[in-house]
Symmetry: C2
Subunit: 457 residues, 2 copies
């Protein structure tokens, strides 16, 4: 009995020692991140020196070179590029659009959606039919749609606390809108920008013509929320008004690009790989400081934190800066393809692609056993106001990593302001707060550390 008590006390002492060690490690990481980390100055460079990093563009190549060079300063075990062919789509001249209400022209801000075809050189002029979703469009039928510009105007649902839920419930209009309208003979589409706010920024984003024959593809653009409100109002008094839009975008052949990878080799299990990542490409309208410059520099910061705090991970930790998340997801797919080819064993992946706002928690894709383990770490995060641990979608670049045993996680920053900037010309450096970015990096490093110490076998 005495022995048992002694054993129990030893176990308690050892658990308490581990808890203290972990508390201290998290404390050190948050402190370093808030006082000495480079992530904010990296983001400054990436946003203000490199600029937009649209996949297939010269900007993306500059971004690749920059990130590789910075990773090489961190004293990692390996920094390398991974070849990937990516689509190259170019917006061309700035788009132009106006409402033609009798003889009055009212300019409205639009931008082509990714992959859209151009209008004719002298633009497209047509009557407008407003709908609030694809179902409503289909119910109208071809007779009422033919030749017209379909105007998708279902707004974000304001009542969701999670802004991504509103996005998820709205984005089908943008992604499939042109395909569905074209199938009914429309001449073009415009979609209300994916944004809560009433403002003057059109928000671009991916769309797909699906398997529609190329000759049926129609020009498709986003209109600012203020523009959408105005158009809807004008249509009420004059359903016969016309809309003019001119776009000169063009699709080129795929071009060679790269994922950028930096890694620290595991001291105990070099063959077990933990990924932390974000995407290096942005849209072309701005620097993409929130989407996803933030995730890129936070992922790099995880490696800096481990090196500077002299933490030698048990497993291999790899920062992967994915290319082409925005418009094809080719980098993520290529990463998984090569990982399979090389028989790599991924045990963990964490993505940051929801902005550099105050971190609130993580989403997880994993089995119940691992989720229970994760929940046991919650108290370690509470001093940093990280409370939200949920099972949910984690990230589109790590979506392709599908081994049975892997635990996947997504950083969940505060979501309220994300869509104010998402895919728009105001997604610039000044949209990111230094401390919020740094807190996010430390939060990511903390989870990676805990998984490295106590994660799945």
């Amino acid at each position: 009995m005495k022995k048992n008590v002694f054993g129990f006390l030893l176990l308690l002492a050892s658990l308490s020692h581990a808890q203290n060690k972990d508390e201290q490690m998290l404390k050190d990481m948050y402190k370093f991140s808030l006082t000495q980390s480079q992530c904010y100055s990296w983001l400054d460079d990436l946003s203000n020196k490199v600029g937009q990093r649209m996949s297939g563009s010269a900007g993306a190549e500059k971004g690749i070179a920059y990130a590789k060079a910075k990773l090489e300063t961190l004293g990692l075990d390996r920094v390398y590029l991974q070849e990937v062919m990516v689509p190259k789509w170019v917006r061309g001249e700035k788009e132009m659009a106006y409402i033609l209400d009798n003889k009055t022209k009212i300019n409205v801000p639009i931008c082509a959606l990714g992959g859209s075809v151009a209008t004719a050189k002298n633009g497209l002029t047509a009557e407008v039919i407003e709908v609030h979703g694809i179902d409503e469009l289909k119910a109208l039928g071809a007779a009422k749609v033919k030749g017209k510009i379909v105007f998708y105007n279902r707004p974000f649902e304001p009542e969701n606390v999670d802004a991504f839920k509103s996005y998820g419930n709205c984005v089908d209009q943008r992604y499939y809108g042109a395909k569905e309208a074209a199938a009914l003979g429309a001449s073009g589409t415009i979609v209300r920008s994916m944004n809560f706010r009433l403002d003057d920024f059109p928000h671009t984003g991916a769309q797909s013509y699906g398997d529609l024959p190329k000759e049926q593809w129609i020009p498709t653009a986003a209109i600012s929320t203020n523009g959408a409100e105005l158009l809807s109002q004008k249509l009420k008094s004059n359903p016969k008004l016309q809309f003019f839009m001119k776009m000169s975008c063009q699709q080129y052949e795929d071009v060679l690009s790269y994922n950028v990878i930096g890694e620290i080799t595991g001291s105990v299990h070099p063959e077990k790989i933990m990924v932390v990542g974000g995407h290096l490409d942005s849209w072309d309208l701005a620097d993409g400081s929130q989407d996803d410059g933030a995730g890129v520099v936070q992922s790099m910061e995880v490696l800096e934190l481990f090196k500077k705090l002299n933490y030698k991970p048990r497993n291999t930790i790899r920062a992967v800066l994915f290319m082409n998340e925005e418009f094809g997801g080719k980098g993520g797919k290529k990463y998984e393809e090569l990982s399979k080819l090389n028989n790599e064993n991924h045990i963990f992946a964490l993505e940051s692609d929801a902005g550099g706002f105050s971190p609130r928690g993580f989403s997880f894709e994993c089995d119940e056993l691992n989720f229970t383990k994760v929940l046991s770490w919650k108290n370690l995060f509470e001093p940093y106001l990280i409370h939200n641990f949920v099972k949910d979608h984690t990230g589109s670049d790590i979506a392709h990593l599908t081994s049975k045993k892997i635990v996947k996680a997504g950083l969940l920053p505060d979501s309220q302001r994300y869509f104010d900037y998402h895919h728009a010309a105001n997604d610039k450096f000044d949209a990111v707060n230094k401390r919020e970015l740094e807190l996010g990096a430390a939060t990511m490093a903390s989870l990676v550390y805990l998984f490295d110490q106590y994660g799945i076998d």
Copy 2:
């Protein structure tokens, strides 16, 4: 036994019914706030139509009239003003300052601190002595300080997760800096702005000469963080450089002003009062949209939510928009004075004076029994990502309410960006996000509702 089981089941059923009822009420309040509330448009008015509301100014009077008029549209049981005499201090002409390094003049942004005396008409020119706190100043002694401008340059501690902790550990330089320097014969003081960021905004704020005789009062100003960095750097190469500052601020006699109050009479306990409040006055450099326009419109929104959702509170709910929080706290003191005079019974008070950012939780000042009760409501707040319930300081306007039984609470929004705007010229309407403001209002209303239903007896 059977009876006991039945009784137990009844109790369970009734608890579950209450829980469902509360869940639904919170859901309704958050939904209304995010979809139909007026608080954001009130803030627009208060910021962009009324403008700055420095206590004792015409702007403050406009703010009082505006708030009263809006409260009167809500169908409350009572809307009234409460007289209070407040200090009137006027900044005068825009301040001017430069570093005189040999013959080179380098302009730097400063602003007078509240209550500062003016410089001589042709300004003040003197050598500068840099210190990092009052202790360091005192250790220098009068001989090294006499005639000089004391430059307090201790920065915010970046490592604190709670930005208010950094403020609390730094603000003594601003509040007592002039008094302490004057006592040692300094000719003036400048203090590094209370802000994490390096930027060009000087941040004003209250200061006090304490019981120092009036003839010893010296001009005191804040310098922007960039200005402070520059001055410190220049001092390293030229400790004999001079600093020029010119300020024409002036103190007038106290003037009559008002707290604005709106209330719904309690249906069961009209004599028990629950206060929800923010302060209507701002500094003079901007609209004070975060500090504390947000708290004002959120407090008004609590009443709107109850009225629009047809909730008839058991206790009297009173929104109090306090005057003169920033520079004297006369409104809060007067409120308590009159409440004592009228033998009012305050059971609860909630203040919002930490910005209109995403709400994270509440601080509480109460006994353990009540805190335990509060913690039992946490699960109701989790769907809205409200997790942070702590015992801490709640608010300076309700600080004077000190009855033994009262429970006091402060809304805790995310604190990271608050000091980017606090008391500076950029504290304007566009610093506030609509959804974050609305979530804060619903969070306040939820706590008031729960206290009204289940609060202390």
